[in-house]
């Protein structure tokens, strides 16, 4: 039994973090946990936001002034997040015109990624795995632990810790950036932008020497920016969860090394305490990374606006409201 639990703990902490096959098979193809998490996360995200929308929207006139009040804690929290992100983050960076166009996409990405990140904090997969090991055939499990446990997991894991998933999300940002560019600047304007802008293209002929270099750098940047989004999100999710797995694996490592049970128990208690602290950090990181993904996408989109609008809307110097806004972060 103890050997079974030790095997369940695993030698490699990454085994608990990276994508694994689930117990669900469709058309002979075993679906990875990330796919299941994506679908469940989407359903939960849409369901919660639909619920919140129905509670935020104005009620019937018979309720009097109370019809303007948001009902329910979840709806109130979502409302605060939406208002803060829209009015304090996106509109100052993008301007009213761009924000009106792109806020639905950006908020949807934020809440979808946040849902995936928060799902990752709940050890659904590990609980199913442990339950399977404890309740199942110990001998078979010890013989082929990975295979046996994988077949027992129906849902869990952190989809946003899977590079394929974050790459897919970044692909949406990539397309959005190009759509904004072609829509606002046109093909000629986009090419001018990639060549260093109007001043460089229509400037002295000597500048044409550097245009190919600028074009190569800018074109690479158009792909690097979304790739950086994908790698940043995946790396942060993997790192935090790996740290948690390492902390929880200390006790098992002591037992595997032949140490006494009391030592393993003591170490597990201490490691568990720190794991709880790390969990709070992970909770913060879950929100932070969702925000960073959304915010950087907004910045990249706003960089593709008309330059005259850009100065006005990016708030390089002085915005409409008379406040000085920070220049959008560089794309790296």
């Amino acid at each position: 039994m103890m050997n079974t639990l030790l095997l369940a703990a695993g030698d490699n902490p990454l085994a608990h973090v990276l994508d694994r096959p689930s117990a669900i098979t469709v058309g002979g193809t075993t679906l990875p946990l990330s796919v299941i998490s994506l679908v469940v996360g989407s359903i939960v995200c849409i369901g919660l936001l639909l619920l919140a929308a129905s509670r935020i929207s104005t009620g019937p006139a018979s309720e009097g002034n109370a019809r303007f009040v948001t009902k329910g804690r979840i709806a109130q929290i979502i409302e605060v997040m939406v208002v803060t992100l829209r009015d304090q983050m996106l509109v100052p960076v993008m301007g009213e015109r761009l924000a009106k166009r792109w806020v639905p996409l950006l908020l949807s990405l934020f809440f979808f990624i946040l849902t995936l990140n928060l799902f990752g904090l709940v050890p659904f997969a590990d609980l199913q795995e442990l339950l399977h090991v404890v309740m199942g055939d110990h001998a078979a499990a010890e013989a082929d632990m990975a295979h046996a446990s994988s077949n027992a997991i129906y849902f869990g894991g952190t989809a946003s810790a899977c590079f394929s998933v974050t790459l897919g999300l970044a692909a949406i940002s990539f397309v959005a950036i190009w759509i904004q560019s072609f829509r606002d600047l046109g093909v000629k304007g986009t090419l001018e932008h990639l060549c260093g802008g109007h001043d460089v293209v229509h400037g002295p002929l000597a500048l044409w020497i550097v245009i190919p270099i600028i074009f190569a750098v800018e074109l690479a940047g158009m792909f690097i920016k979304p790739a950086a989004l994908a790698i940043r999100l995946m790396a942060n999710m993997v790192a935090g969860h790996t740290l948690m797995a390492v902390l929880f694996g200390f006790g098992a490592a002591v037992l595997k090394a032949g140490g006494p049970a009391w030592a393993a128990g003591s170490i597990t208690l201490v490691a568990g305490f720190f794991a709880i602290l790390i969990t709070f950090l992970e909770l913060f990181v879950a929100f932070l990374q969702a925000f960073i993904f959304m915010f950087l996408t907004a910045v990249f989109i706003s960089l593709m606006a008309h330059e005259d609008h850009g100065h006005e809307e990016h708030g390089h110097d002085q915005g409409h409201d008379g406040q000085t806004h920070a220049e959008p972060a560089p794309a790296h």
Binding site: G10, D11, N12, L14, A15, L18, D19, R20, T29, L31, P32, S34, V35, L38, V39, S42, C45, I46, L49, L50, A52, A53, S54, I56, S57, T58, N65, F68, T70, E79, V82, V83, V103, P104, L105, L107, S108, L109, F111, F112, A146, A159, C162, F163, S164, V165, T166, L167, G168, L169, A171, I172, M234, V238
Partner: protein, 170 residues
């Protein structure tokens, strides 16, 4: 491949395609069914709050104007009241002076009339006394003429005359 042996940076088609399709589906559903509803609710609440604030400001301005008008009228009323009180006091003083003057006049007339009546009464009394005295003298004289009046008669006559005078009630 076991998860422990997998490359974290490996790209697989199924999760990638699922991520794109599910995320796009989520974006579409939320863009159609959620964000417009939330934005509408927030905008309506914003308009309601701004409307209430404007109504409150208007009401406050009206109340301030009404208060200023009220204070202005109050000051005017105080001035009017002071003027009326002053006028009333003047009228009352004048009425009192008139009343006192008339009273003094009437009193003087009464006194004068009383004095006149008293003088008349005195004169009448004197006249009546004189007439009675004359009548008494005549009576006394007639009695004197009837016999010689000695000292004793004289005393009797005087006492009789006095009795008659007393019995006459004068």
């Amino acid at each position: 491949m076991l998860a422990a042996d997998a490359n974290p940076m490996s790209v697989e088609v199924l999760p990638l395609a699922t991520a794109v399709s599910v995320a796009l589906l989520t974006v579409i559903v939320l863009s159609v069914a959620v964000w417009p509803k939330i934005a509408k609710g927030l905008d309506e609440r914003n308009e309601k709050i701004l409307g209430e604030i404007k109504a409150a400001e208007d009401a406050r301005a009206q109340a301030k104007a009404a208060q200023e008008e009220f204070e202005r009228k109050l000051i005017q009323a105080q001035h009017d009241a002071d003027a009326m009180i002053k006028e009333a006091r003047g009228q009352a003083q004048k009425a009192a002076d008139d009343l006192r003057a008339r009273s003094e006049t009437e009193l003087a007339e009464l006194k004068k009339r009383a004095n006149a009546e008293m003088d008349a009464a005195r004169r009448q009394a004197v006249a009546e006394l004189e007439a009675h005295a004359a009548e008494l003298a005549v009576s006394v004289a007639s009695k004197v003429l009837g016999r010689v009046i000695d000292a004793k008669d004289q005393k009797v006559l005087v006492e009789q005359s006095i009795k008659e005078f007393a019995s006459s009630g004068r």
